[in-house]
């Protein structure tokens, strides 16, 4: 098979041999900041940044060492130690084009966001703790993508979940933040359970969890389909895909850099990583599992876009957009090797422009006394020039303005989807049109039109430590997509890791879907201009049509969850409690009481008298001797 992925080679020495340093640096940072807590208050944020940068440097060096190898040898496994010897599970790292791409994104964008946070969190008295959690996140995320087996991946997976939980609830004095953190935790648990059960099935079926030992499957059967769907459930939880999307919008309660790093650029893309990494094993091209991935992606990209249209909270609007964009990636990831390169490409460019947009939104909030309601913005372009310029570049990139980053990767996904399945392709086109509308709406409401500021707002540009990362990110948003997609650069680079034909797909500048997409985007943007640029934006949210309410309420996702799961769940618990009290408790309490009672009774043997103890020893000795004599005569 020509699309087979390359063999994994054992590797020692060099930078790749010490790739664990990538994980160790931020982990050490988190450790120092958490253990020596307030002693590090003064320089803690600098340490956090340094550790993230150090990790980035290692990633870059490892990248250059990796491309020094021939194409077939670019999957290097580094053995670290034997983790669970009896189950033959070793802890090791896999440095291959896929994982190093992620590592570069995580450490690169991660470092920029660390730097930005110095300014953003400068007034927070718990800034040190914030950096500790950010470092912890970076370490866990790197473990997730670098591990050479599902166990390591799962540990990282849970680690990022923990970091996400801690950071969403970072301002836990706000009840909304605490609730959001809990919701994210619970919803993710559903997904994690899927991943965990998937791993169990993999282990019982193949007796290994290592990527090197699993063999690409040739034909799908019931077991691989089940594994694929279970892994997809895990991916849906972490990547906020339907039906486990509801936590992401609430997760915006966390500080904005967190939204940018974890809930836009990196962690939420872990699901895409999981699918692509498992692609050769459990999502072969044309399989039912892969189709399920693509359908979930297409559905989510529309749902996210519709939600994004109705949000007045700038961060929630961006969160809807994140859902939607990850939907694109999922769609790409469900198309087999041809889609992988575009999915990962979109993931990388999205990492840049979405981080850019989020940090831009953070910069706006910073200047507007933490106001998030776009109805209270307006006309900010004049007051925050750098923020506006960078935000605008991010905006053009995400709507797929020709020749910017998002254009190449999104068009790529649409094109690949068209080849695969016309329906999915046209849904993706429609999604792009809606993106054009809601992103334009956001830009117009924020930066153009009349000032609708609340009293006491004095918008001002943010300090350089915040705008510098914005500038760097917007450069990525401008050019990265073209670089990755043109000539199949990323495709060729990723091929050893994810498979695919030797010839990269050609990017068509002129195609019917492409033209329709651009037209729809233009219509969306124009409509947004009419409604939110030229016309007056009411300062109070109007009632809106049925459709608007539908979108505002997150497509009734929460209502659905509540009526489908929460209420029946509560009923179920009530019924269970009823039976528990009547039936089970009798047994369990009986058992517990039995143990407790025997404990109490046995306890009386412990009289405290040496003579009783001696007697027990004597009787024991007599029994032992008697028993052995008896055994001896048998």
């Amino acid at each position: 098979m020509e699309s087979e992925i390359a063999q994994i080679t054992q590797h020692t020495g060099g930078v790749i041999g010490s790739a664990w340093l990538m994980i160790a640096f931020p982990l050490l940072g988190a450790f120092i900041l958490l253990v020596f807590n307030r002693f590090t208050n003064r320089w803690g944020h600098l340490l956090g940044v340094a550790m993230s940068l150090a990790s980035f440097v290692v990633a870059v060096l490892a990248f250059f060492e990796l491309i020094g190898f021939g194409e077939g040898e670019r999957r290097r496994a580094v053995e670290l130690y034997s983790f669970i010897p009896n189950m033959n599970i070793d802890m090791g790292l896999l440095i291959d084009p896929l994982s190093i791409s992620f590592a570069l994104l995580i450490t690169g964008v991660g470092s920029l966001i660390h730097i930005y946070s110095i300014g953003y969190m400068s007034h927070d008295e718990h800034r040190r703790r914030f950096f500790a959690y950010l470092n912890l996140f970076v370490a866990a995320m790197l473990l997730l993508v670098l591990a050479d087996n599902y166990v390591g991946l799962f540990i990282g997976w849970e680690g990022v979940g923990l970091a996400s939980y801690l950071l969403i609830g970072f301002w836990q004095f706000k009840p909304s933040a605490a609730v959001a953190a809990k919701k994210a935790f619970v919803v993710n648990r559903v997904g994690d359970f899927g991943l965990l059960v998937g791993m169990f099935v993999i282990f019982t079926t193949y007796n290994t969890l290592s990527f090197a030992e699993l063999k690409p499957i040739v034909e799908e059967n019931g077991t691989t389909l089940a594994i694929g769907l279970l892994l997809l459930l895990g991916a849906c939880g972490k990547s906020a895909q339907l039906p486990l999307q509801s936590w992401l919008l609430d997760a915006m309660e966390g500080p904005t850099p967190v939204s940018a790093l974890i809930h836009a650029a990196t962690m939420v893309t872990a699901g895409v990583y999981l699918v692509v990494r498992s692609g050769a094993y459990f999502f072969p091209e044309g399989s039912g599992a892969a189709l399920a991935v693509a359908i979930v992606g297409a559905a989510t990209l529309l749902a996210g876009a519709i939600i994004g249209c109705a949000k007045d909270d700038i961060k929630k609007g961006l969160a809807g957009s994140t859902m939607s964009q990850i939907g694109y990636m999922m769609l790409g990831a469900g198309l087999g090797p041809a889609g992988y390169a575009f999915a990962i490409g979109h993931l990388i460019t999205h990492g840049f422009f979405k981080a850019d947009l989020f940090l831009g939104a953070g910069s706006v909030m910073h200047g507007m006394n933490d106001e998030v309601d776009m109805r209270k913005y307006g006309g900010l372009a004049k007051y925050m020039k750098v923020t506006f310029a960078t935000f605008f570049i991010g905006y053009l990139a995400i709507i797929g303005f020709p020749l910017l980053s998002g254009y190449f990767t999104k068009e790529g996904i649409i094109e690949a989807a068209m080849e695969h399945n016309q329906v999915l392709g046209w849904l993706a086109v429609l999604g792009a049109g809606i993106t054009g509308f809601y992103m334009s709406r956001m830009v117009f409401m924020t930066f153009f039109g009349k000032k609708r500021w609340v009293e006491g707002a004095h918008p001002h540009e943010s300090p350089l430590v915040m705008t510098l990362p914005l500038m760097i990110l917007s450069v990525g948003a401008l050019f990265l997509g073209g670089y990755l997609v043109m000539g199949g650069t990323l495709y060729t680079f990723l091929r050893p890791a994810v498979g695919g034909d030797p010839t990269p797909p050609v990017f068509h500048f002129a195609s019917v879907p492409g033209a329709v997409t651009l037209a729809l985007v233009a219509i969306g943007a124009a409509y947004a201009w009419m409604k939110y640029g030229r016309a007056e934006v009411p300062a109070v949210q109007p009632r809106g049509s049925f459709l608007t309410t539908f979108a505002r309420r997150d497509l009734y996702g929460d209502a659905l969850n509540e009526s489908l799961f929460m209420r029946p769940g509560q009923w179920l618990t009530r019924i269970a409690v009823f039976f528990d009290n009547r039936g089970v408790d009798g047994l369990v309490n009986g058992l517990a009481a039995g143990i407790g009672g025997s404990s109490g009774r046995l306890r009386r043997l412990q009289t405290g008298f040496a003579r009783t103890y001696a007697l027990s020893i004597f009787i024991g000795a007599a029994l032992l001797t008697g028993a052995l004599l008896l055994v001896g005569t048998i």
Partner: protein
């Protein structure tokens, strides 16, 4: 002419760790006799620590040079082999950290002879009562020397001597608590009486086995077994009585009754030493007797040990539930763990490979359990009431709010005892149970089922045990602190170091079990010298 008495050959190099510890103990006695009182502690502390560290270095040297002897030393009296060296290393590390605890002020009485209830006693308990007995140090060294010799003894008489050298100082040390003198003296007395009683069993068993085999050396007994009829009543009685003596030291049911009383009454650092070092030494001795001395015995005896192991696990974990005193609870926990270790001991009788596998599991378990135990007792020393340590569990309520770090560390140790993954305790239990299941499948049908049954009992006992460990955590973190709660003593550097080391090992081995497992594997591979 006098008949020539051949001079015995002594392998000084091989026995060096033992000789260093005993030598330092003798010097310690001389210090007690001749050094002025105010200088004694200043001499004892470095002497004790240096000798233990030196002995450890000598053990390390032998291992690193690859000079693990293949023949017994000292005219066949002492066997220094891979498992011995591993056990020595573990005991030396454990006793080193225990000495750091002992070194902390205020655990030991100034005058052990003070009669309870007298004016003398009040003086002895008071802080102004002076620095406490400095005899503690040489006594500890003698006990540690005995612990080293006990599992390395190659004949039953040497083993008996080692048993006494280990136990006699411990009997004394138990009675030296500065606080709650009466309890401490009672513990000492009980331990002495019952210890002497069980030693008598051991000695009687030795005599019986000698009557059967005509020798007291372990390989000699084993040879006699292979040539003899095998199941002679004399042998079976001897085997049973030896077993009583050894199982007593482990604290296996029904020979466990001393443990809670003694652990509670003894000064806590000494409890830590007994719960870690003595247990390691005794399990080592059990392994040696069963595996070197009785290796050729038909395995019909196994159902009997099966019952003992199961009973020990059940009694330990069930009785721990109703304990209200922290040290008593830890004592019952120690009994339960002795049961888990016996599961491993049961597993050591299969093919040579199987032996190495389960031996490795036991050695690993001993090392990680020992260090976690010392850490837990070190925490216990820090939670204090006006009258001494706050023993009653109700006093620990809400500790998580008053001293979050200390309570967190203690909670972690408890989780390790319970065997929660990512702690060393998980891998210890896992290794032992896995080895037991393995040996079950190797030995064959009937015994295989028995071993599986034993593991099931072990898992159920672990579940019951988890209850009382977690209950303490719940108590510490989810209860309101008492209004006049116990004070948290400012720990000395030594105590901090002990807790830190225990925590690091417990966490570190939990994340990277291969670190210790690898060493245990190397040690187990060379097996016991037969």
């Amino acid at each position: 002419m006098n008949p020539a008495i051949p001079a015995p050959t002594i392998e000084y190099g091989t026995l060096a760790p033992l000789l260093v510890v005993f030598g330092a103990a003798v010097i310690g006695v001389l210090v007690e006799a001749f050094a002025p009182r105010y200088l004694r502690k200043a001499i004892h502390v470095p002497l004790t620590l240096l000798s233990l560290a030196g002995a450890f270095a000598l053990v390390l040297l032998q291992v690193l040079r690859g000079q693990v002897p293949t023949a017994p030393a000292a005219m066949g009296a002492v066997a220094v082999d891979g498992p011995s060296l591993f056990i020595w290393g573990v005991i030396l590390v454990l006793s080193f950290v225990c000495v750091l605890l002992i070194n902390d002020e205020g655990h030991f009485v100034a005058s052990a002879a003070a009669v309870p209830g007298s004016a003398d006693e009040e003086e002895a308990e008071s802080v102004s009562g002076g620095v406490g007995h400095t005899e503690v140090y040489p006594l500890v060294l003698f006990a540690v020397g005995g612990m080293l010799l006990f599992p390395a003894s190659h004949d039953l008489l040497m083993m008996f001597v080692a048993l006494e050298v280990m136990s006699l100082p411990l009997y004394l040390l138990c009675g030296l608590a500065r606080r709650r003198r009466l309890l401490s003296q009672e513990a000492s007395m009980k331990y002495f009486l019952l210890g002497a009683f069980s030693s008598a069993f051991f000695l009687y068993g030795t005599a019986m086995v000698y009557g059967y085999a005509g020798t007291v050396t372990l390989p000699g007994i084993n040879r006699a077994l292979s040539s003899g009829t095998g199941l002679d009543p004399l042998l079976m009685i001897g085997f049973a009585l030896l077993g009583v003596g050894l199982l007593f030291k482990i604290g296996a049911a029904p020979f466990h009754a001393w443990k809670p009383d003694v652990y509670q009454g003894a000064p806590t650092p000494i409890t830590a030493l007994m719960a870690s070092g003595t247990l390691v030494a005794a399990v080592g001795a059990v392994l040696r007797v069963f595996w070197v001395g009785l290796g050729n015995l038909d395995w019909n005896w196994r159902p009997v040990i099966w019952v003992v192991a199961a009973l020990t696990m059940i009694v330990g974990s069930i009785l721990a539930i109703t304990q209200t005193e922290i040290k008593r609870m830890l004592a019952y926990s120690s009994i339960a763990h002795a049961g888990f270790l016996l599961v491993g001991v049961m597993a050591t009788f299969g093919s040579a490979q199987q032996n190495a596998g389960s031996l490795k599991a036991i050695l690993f378990y001993l090392a990680v359990y020992g260090i976690t135990t010392v850490g837990a007792f070190a925490v216990v020393t820090l939670v204090r009431d006006p009258g001494g340590e706050a023993g009653h569990l109700s006093r620990w309520a809400g500790l998580g709010k008053r001293a979050p770090v200390l309570a967190g560390v203690f909670a972690f140790f408890l989780l390790a005892f319970a065997g929660i993954p990512l702690t060393s305790g998980f891998f210890g239990k896992y290794a032992v149970f896995a080895a037991a299941l393995d040996s079950g499948t190797q030995v064959g049908d009937s015994m295989g089922g028995w071993m599986t049954g034993l593991v099931v009992v072990g898992v159920v006992a672990s579940a019951i045990a988890a209850f009382f460990y977690v209950r303490v955590i719940v108590l510490m973190f989810f209860s309101e602190p008492a209004a006049d709660g116990p004070a948290i003593a400012v720990p000395s550097m030594g105590t901090v170091a002990v807790i830190a080391v225990s925590l690091l090992v417990t966490v570190g081995v939990g994340l990277y079990p291969e670190s210790v497992l690898g060493v245990a594997d190397d040690a187990a591979r060379s097996l016991f010298i037969r």
